[in-house]
């Protein structure tokens, strides 16, 4: 059989050196199968998955803590001397044998002696004379204060000097502080003035004030149970009144703002004004930017660009084509409003007064949930109507409350007389008036109806707000419902 070389030479091909014998496949470095993994699995995943290996490594026990460096500690029963003692008493305790036997007793350092003020006879006669105190008693006082380390309650308890009068704690404190102050003031002082004054201040004692304070404390304690209860009741009452006052004021402001708007001159309006001026400024800025439109920087503000053609408003054209131009104030993304159906913008009364408001509106024959033609103007009108109705309901509430308060106060004064009855009568008349007015309004044409209702309503509510203190009304909800009933009949 011809070898490959023969054939090659026969075909005149280049002679290829015989291929080296295939090398024995290098055995992979022997990796030991880690513990806790089956042989089959290991042969599949191989030794490369290090994490697995690490995880499956043999768990090791936690290292034992090395307490006391391993070696045993020798303790011994040793006598010790306490530096805070003046005698030679030697007590024994267990200490480490390694501890220095001559070491200062570790608790001796807590034996701090307070600074004691002493004075000579000469100093006493020069500075410390006091007609209420003899030198003997002062000496006694200074000693006992030092002995009990200015624990005044204890000092007073142990104070036992045959003095002409009973000493109170304030007397003792006052005398002690006075003596110390005088000594500090009159002695040469090594440090600076500030530290001297500080030390002096620590001995300040206002006796009269202390006595007064103690009296107050005593009188506080001396209150009887009834007094305490009464005090607490009064406190609660005050809190309640304050809260009422605050709420009433807020409500009144809200009402005024709703009714009179900016003319009410209430401070909170300022916020709106600020917003308004901000808007104006914004508009101005936009305008200015619109002026140099040719500069390439402006296109960033898409709003302003869109605005440009609208700036020259053609009111006649708009009116003719029923175009309403909204005042696009916001140019930022957040202020941007996507297109919407105006029927989504139908206003809703506040949830708290919604039933009453809707009742009032039903009574007018207006459904606030459905507007046949929700044009801009109509929506605005409806909004105005609902606002007015809300304020009316709220005013009514306030009136009722005030009236109730008046009733209660009158009851309390025991003066409930014919006056209230008269007022009730008057109110009834008033309600009737309102009815009539509404009836008139109903008779009016469909066009101006909403507008006129709102105006009369708001006028009436304003009136009520003004005379809210004097008006007392009977159960209006009942009247309203009956009224509604009659009206429906009339309409039908």
């Amino acid at each position: 059989m011809a070898a490959a070389g023969d054939i090659r030479s026969a075909l005149d091909l280049e002679l290829v050196p015989p291929a080296p014998p295939p090398q024995k496949k290098a055995a992979p470095p022997a990796v030991r199968k880690p513990e806790g993994i089956s042989r089959e699995l290991f042969s599949l995943i191989g030794p490369s998955s290090t994490t697995l290996v690490a995880q499956l490594a043999k768990p090791r026990l936690k290292q034992k803590p090395n307490l006391g460096q391993g070696s045993k500690i020798k303790w011994e029963w040793r006598a010790f001397k306490n530096g805070a003692r003046t005698d030679s008493l030697q007590l024994h305790h267990w200490t480490k044998a390694s501890a220095d036997p001559n070491e200062e007793y570790q608790f001796a350092k807590y034996n701090v002696q307070p600074v004691a003020y002493t004075y000579s006879q000469d100093e006493y006669t020069r500075f410390l004379e006091d007609e209420e105190w003899t030198k003997e008693e002062t000496d006694y006082l200074m000693n006992i204060v030092r002995e009990y380390d200015t624990r005044w309650y204890v000092i007073l308890d142990r104070y036992d000097f045959p003095s002409p009068k009973e000493r109170t704690m304030e007397d003792i404190k006052d005398r002690y502080c006075a003596v110390c102050r005088k000594l500090i003031r009159n002695r040469p002082w090594a440090g600076d003035d500030a530290s001297k004054n500080l030390l002096m201040a620590s001995f300040n004692f206002d006796k009269d004030r202390e006595v007064m304070r103690k009296k107050y404390v005593a009188s506080l304690e001396g209150r009887t149970k009834e007094q305490i209860a009464e005090e607490e009741a009064l406190y609660m009452e005050i809190k309640r009144l304050e809260q009422n006052e605050r709420r009433f004021k807020r409500d009144r402001d809200d009402l005024l703002r709703t009714i009179a708007g900016i003319e009410s001159g209430l401070p909170d309006i300022v916020e709106d004004e600020a917003a308004l001026t901000g808007m104006l400024l914004d508009a101005k800025r936009n305008k200015r930017k619109g002026g140099d439109l040719d500069s390439p920087a402006t296109p960033l503000l898409g709003g302003s660009i869109r605005r440009i053609p609208t700036v020259p408003k053609n009111t006649a054209y708009d009116l003719q084509h029923c175009i309403t131009r909204t005042d696009q104030t916001g140019t930022t993304k957040a202020a941007h409003q996507p297109a919407y159906l105006r029927s989504f913008k139908l206003p809703f009364p506040k949830a708290s007064v919604a039933p009453k408001v809707s009742q009032t509106l039903t009574e007018l024959g207006v459904s606030h949930t459905r507007l046949v033609m929700p044009t801009h103007a109509n929506v605005a009108l409806l909004e105005g109507l609902i606002d007015a109705a809300t304020s009316l309901v709220e005013t009514k509430k306030v009136v009722d409350k005030v009236d109730y308060d008046i009733q209660v106060l009158k009851n309390r004064l025991g003066m409930q007389g014919p006056a209230t009855k008269m007022e009730e009568g008057e109110d009834g008349m008033e309600v009737d008036d309102g009815n009539d007015a509404e009836g008139d309004i109903d008779a009016e044409g469909e066009d101006g109806r909403a507008q006129s209702v709102v105006s009369t309503r708001s006028a009436r509510s304003r009136k009520q707000a003004r005379r809210s203190v004097s008006v007392s009304s009977v159960d209006t909800s009942a009247t309203v419902s009956t009224r509604a009933g009659t009206k429906r009949q009339r309409r039908n």
Partner: protein
């Protein structure tokens, strides 16, 4: 160890009360030796004049100075019946009245029970707040001269009880075996002017005894024979007359004082297991609505105790008006003691200590006592806070426990009166050092 400021020098703490003497190492949480303070003794000539001896009913009031031939103390002391053995108690109103037996009792506790040599250990002894200077000096003398202690200190139980509760300032209400006291403590010092105490527990005990011994419409008077005098008994129904036989061999040889002591013990047993106090104040309906408790006396007599068991506890807080009018020397009630104590305190201080009321003493374990006290106090002080350990050991041995705390403090060791100082200054040093 340093963190807690402790440094134990193997000091011993001895707390002597009317019912028991407690002794142990400072730093421990329970005394090692608790022995009854009452001791039995035989006179020099036993059975010579035992019949003649007229011992008053209350053993606590009559230690006298009997000539003692042999004393029986501790576990096998008065509880063991012995022929002609008298029983006495060296304490009167919480103070040591007779130092002879007290020294013997202390020696018994330290040497026989604890097996300590007193000359090796500094000893801290407690005293009630109303202890007299003469008494504490005598105690120091016994310690130094008789026991040869290297160092000695005497501390106030009021202060120690406050320390045991972990407080420096407190109003300590301590109801013991014979005395109830209210002690204002400020910064570890007793305000002596605010101290108020009365033998109220003794009065309560007398009331209970009266209640048991005297017949009532539905119950005969109860015999308070102790079990040591009963040979045998038969079970009977509740309320039925007991059927028991006395040990005729013992009864005639029993001394009057031992009878009185053992009967007092029976009364105490009854008080501890049956008597109580209503938590909110006396109310006939409330008392009647509580379930009655059954109790069996050593004679085998069984009875149910209804509202009457609450009338016992009521004596702690309120004296019946008719009692007040007939007896002007009634001990002050707890409420009276507390208000007296507070009245003597500065108004500003009252607020502080009322927030730190410590209730202690074995007598305060009386059923319902803590609740009633808290109800009484919070009526007048809305911010009152009562510290009353639930652990009976801490209540009963509060004074000892405080001594254990104090005696194991590193900073305290400078306060010991050493033997040297005693030799140098004599008795005066006691008053000077132990303020």
């Amino acid at each position: 160890m340093v963190n807690y400021g402790g440094d134990e020098v193997s000091a011993l703490v001895i707390d002597i009360g009317t019912s028991s003497v407690r002794a142990g190492y400072a730093g421990d949480d329970t005394p090692k030796a608790v022995i009854p303070t009452s001791y039995g003794y035989h006179r020099t000539a036993p059975d010579a004049d035992s019949a003649m001896q007229d011992v008053t009913e209350d053993p606590m009031n009559n230690p006298g100075t009997p000539k003692i031939a042999k004393m029986h103390m501790g576990q096998y002391g008065p509880t063991v019946w012995r022929e002609g053995m008298e029983v006495a108690n060296p304490m009167v109103e919480g103070l040591v009245n007779d130092f002879g037996p007290v020294a013997a009792l202390m020696r018994h506790a330290v040497v026989d029970v604890m097996r300590c040599n007193p000359s090796d250990h500094p000893i801290l002894v407690t005293e009630p707040a109303w202890n007299t200077p003469a008494n504490r000096e005598r105690m120091a003398e016994i310690m130094f001269e008789e026991f040869q202690v290297p160092a000695f200190y005497i501390a106030n139980t009021g202060v120690l009880n406050a320390f045991a509760a972990g407080k420096g300032s407190a109003l300590v209400i301590d109801v013991g075996h014979t005395m109830a006291s209210v002690t204002p403590v400020v910064d570890g010092f007793v305000l002596r002017k605010g101290l108020a105490y009365s033998p109220l527990p003794q009065y309560v005990h007398a009331h209970a005894r009266h209640l048991l011994v005297n017949p009532t419409p539905h119950r005969r008077g109860i015999d308070l024979f102790p079990h040591q005098l009963i040979a045998n008994k038969l079970p009977v129904d509740a309320g039925a007359p007991p059927r028991f036989a006395l040990r005729e061999d013992r009864v005639p040889k029993t001394t009057q004082s031992w009878r009185a002591w053992s009967e007092a013990r029976e009364v105490d047993e009854w008080i501890q297991s049956v008597a109580g106090v209503l938590e909110t104040g006396w109310n006939d309906q409330a008392a009647a609505s509580r379930p009655p408790k059954q109790y069996e006396f050593p004679t085998g007599y069984i009875s149910y105790f209804g509202p009457e068991r609450y009338s016992v506890g009521e004596q702690f807080f309120l004296h019946a008006p008719q009692m007040m009018s007939s007896n002007s020397h009634l001990p002050k009630t707890m409420t009276a003691l507390i208000s007296e104590s507070l009245r003597a305190c500065d108004p500003e201080l009252r607020q502080v200590i009322m927030g730190n009321v410590v209730l202690t003493g074995g007598g305060s374990l009386f059923a319902g006592f803590g609740d009633r006290l808290s109800a009484e106090l919070s009526r007048n002080f809305p911010h009152v806070k009562i510290h009353s350990p639930g652990n009976p050991v801490e209540r009963r041995y509060g004074g000892w426990l405080g001594g254990s705390v104090l005696g194991s403090l590193g900073t305290f060791h400078q306060l010991w009166i050493s033997k040297e100082e005693w030799a140098e200054h004599g008795k005066a040093i006691v008053g000077q050092r132990c303020k």
